[in-house]
């Protein structure tokens, strides 16, 4: 946990420095007439101080538990794959339209966990796509993209 706390405290320190600098750039105004950087200036300043407190508090803390790597024993590749698929979906949905892109997305997501039963995956994907299209697009009038193919 020590390594994790050190890493995160340094990350938040970096964030606070960047926001602090940007707040100064956009103008903090005066105490009588605060500018639009006033609040972020104060919040980032305190965040920076607390990040340092966390850093030094972690350094002073005694910990008997040995450090365990963050992703040890986890299926992190599966997570990365799902994230990649979702990012591609966000990119191609306006191009391919809701129905095609969602069917492809769902097929891939079902495939991730159920590799042996591709047929069922396709069936579930088709049902999920049509059902959500019916409910959200037809009944609730949500505007989904039609894409190049017009549906």
């Amino acid at each position: 946990m020590k390594t994790l706390d050190w890493t995160s405290s340094l990350f938040w320190l970096l964030v606070s420095i960047l926001v602090f600098a940007e707040s100064l750039r956009i103008g903090i105004g005066t105490v009588q007439n605060p500018g639009m950087g006033f609040m972020p200036f104060g919040a980032s300043g305190i965040l920076g101080i607390l990040s340092l407190v966390l850093f030094f508090q972690t350094a002073l803390r005694k910990e008997d538990v040995p450090h365990k790597p963050l992703f040890a024993g986890t299926m992190w590749r599966r997570v990365l794959f799902v994230l990649l698929v979702l990012t591609i979906y966000a990119r191609v949905m306006p191009v391919l339209g809701y129905l095609i892109s969602t069917f492809l997305l769902m097929s891939l997501l079902f495939w991730v966990l159920e590799r042996g039963r591709i047929g069922y995956g396709f069936l579930y994907s088709l049902l999920a796509t049509l059902f959500t299209h019916l409910v959200f697009s037809k009944w609730l009038n949500c505007q989904f993209p039609h894409g190049w193919f017009g549906f």
Binding site: M1, L4, D5, T7, S8, W12, V15, V19, E22, I26, T30, V31, Q32, N33, P34, G35, M36, G37, F38, M39, P40, A43, S44, I46, L47, L50, V53, L54, Q57, L70, F71, T74, M75, W76, R78, V79, V82, L83, L86, T87, Y89, A90, R91, M93, T102, L105, L109, F110, L113, E114, Y124, A128, T132, F136, L140, N141, C142, Q143, F144, P145
Partner: protein
């Protein structure tokens, strides 16, 4: 309108077909969400919010309220039958509820959870009616300094009650304030922290933020591990608790209702904390504390009553002060704003249909939950048996649809994914999302109140301590923060964390 005319008016509003339908849909969706670990009440509300744009604000709020207390009901089913809390507010129900199921008493456990929730919900509704109006009248006298101090206190309480490190929770609150400041400045109208991205001019949307931090991050966390879960196979019978069960539970329900109501009103309190407190109190006052953790019915009745009472009570600060006390109320707050309604002291006066309609819908929804859920328990059990490998793509799809349909922008999907990864990492690094969301919503209001206060006082920070209400609120907040430094408190906090583990 006098008090009783207002209540009758509220029922007239609620029994309009569309509102009645929304109430029913809300409680059913809420129960479903509560039963399924993963999406959470905030996510479910955010998902359905875009679908309500073509309906009135009253119908929308009735729907969201239905989801909120439906979730409290539904969470108990998963806790009792699977030993996995459907929601954070059902964690304590696992301890004795699942033990009861293992002893063949799943029926009475589910029954007392439902009845306790119904009774507590009703008590809480009465409290809501009695407290919200006088509080709204009193709030009319509050100025920017008081609002600033009250919001600060709310944020401090959220961080104080956070699980794990208070320091990290405060840091998350500050990050929330920074995220809330993205977009056009309220006073000057100039953009800030938008990095030239036009879509950020209106700020970061609450729906992608909430869906990412709570919904997507939970799915990613689940995907890392083993996705199997086991539903405890038992015949569910005797849903009506026996006379002895009632006698054992009656005071637990009353105490749970009171604890839930009081903690629900407090900013940062909410349903989760009230269940922990209720369980601890029940164990303390019990003549047989050794029974707890081994199937004591009071251990189910108390926390389940507390979480429902708290759900109703947390509407009070939102409707009368315009301050959301927890992240779920922050979604309510955003929903009201989207529908052009400013939550605050004038809401009850200017929108009586919304307030009284909501109050009446709480009674109706509580009744519907009892009537629908006990007979439908078999269906909820079937839902629990759906494998997670089928559920997870569907939950993800609902998150994507909810976020996209908000503004019809792919950009929002990227924002959700970004915060999904952030939330996933936050869980790994031991940071909580709740203070961040609340601070994100309160941030712009907090900033407005601060800048107005400083303009009024011509730059003197003494304005916050020279006005009594503001001084008391800030004093209380400082006191809370100082107690975290006391060794005795630290020890108790460690015990509290161990207890939760």
């Amino acid at each position: 309108m006098d008090f009783f005319s207002s209540i009758i008016y509220g029922f007239q509003v609620t029994f309009q077909p569309v509102n009645f339908l929304f109430c029913g849909v809300g409680v059913l969706v809420g129960t479903l969400v509560g039963v399924l670990p993963g999406i959470g009440p905030a996510g479910a509300m955010a998902l359905l919010l875009p679908a309500t744009f073509s309906f009135s604000s009253t119908s929308t709020i009735i729907l969201l309220a239905g989801i909120y207390y439906g979730v409290q009901y539904g969470g108990s089913t998963t806790s009792i039958l699977v030993n996995i809390p459907g929601e954070a507010s059902s964690v304590m129900t696992c301890l004795d509820g699942h033990q009861m199921a293992r002893q063949g008493r799943a029926g009475p456990a589910l029954g007392i959870a439902a009845w306790g929730s119904f009774i507590a919900g009703t008590i809480s509704n009465i409290g809501l009616m009695l407290v919200a109006i006088p509080l709204a009248h009193a709030a009319l006298r509050l100025g920017p300094p008081e609002y600033f101090s009250l919001m600060c206190t709310g944020l401090i309480i959220v961080t104080y009650l956070a699980q794990g490190s208070v320091l990290k929770a405060v840091m998350m609150g500050l990050v929330g304030i920074l995220l809330g400041s993205v977009g056009l400045d309220l006073i000057s109208g100039f953009p800030r922290f938008t990095f030239g991205i036009n879509e950020l001019s209106d700020g970061i949307g609450i729906v992608p933020l909430v869906m990412g931090l709570f919904g997507v991050s939970e799915i990613l966390e689940n995907l890392e591990g083993d996705l199997k879960r086991e539903v405890f196979k038992t015949r569910i019978r005797n849903l009506w608790p026996s006379f002895k069960d009632w006698m054992d539970s009656k005071w637990a329900i009353v105490r749970g209702s009171i604890i839930g109501f009081v903690l629900g009103i407090l900013p940062g309190g909410g349903a989760v904390i009230s269940t922990f407190v209720s369980y601890a109190v029940e164990k303390k006052v019990s003549k047989n504390p050794e029974k707890f953790g081994k199937g004591a019915i009071e251990g189910v009745a108390g926390p389940e009553s507390a979480n429902n009472a708290s759900a109703g009570a947390s509407l009070i600060p939102l409707l009368s002060l315009g301050i959301p006390p927890n992240p779920i109320m922050a979604i309510f707050f955003s929903a009201l704003l989207i529908h052009g309604i400013q939550p605050g002291p004038l809401l009850i006066k200017q929108h009586p249909d919304l307030f009284w309609g909501l109050v009446a819908s709480l009674y109706l929804g509580n009744g519907l939950l009892l009537v629908l859920n006990l007979p439908l328990i078999g269906i909820w059990v079937k839902v629990l048996e759906v494998p997670y490998k089928i559920l997870f793509p569907l939950i993800l799809l609902f998150c994507l649809i909810g976020v996209y349909s908000m503004n019809n922008l792919s950009f929002d999907l990227y924002v959700m994914l970004f915060f999904g990864v952030v939330g996933w990492l936050m869980r790994k690094f031991g940071y909580e999302g709740a203070p961040l969301i609340l601070a994100y919503v309160l941030g712009p209001m907090l900033e407005n109140a601060l800048r107005q206060s400083l303009l009024i006082s011509q730059g003197s920070f003494l304005i916050f301590v020279s006005r009594p209400i503001s001084a008391v609120a800030l004093g209380f907040a400082c006191l809370l923060l100082l107690t975290t430094l006391l060794p005795n408190f630290r020890k108790r906090r460690q015990q509290y964390d161990q207890f939760k583990e």
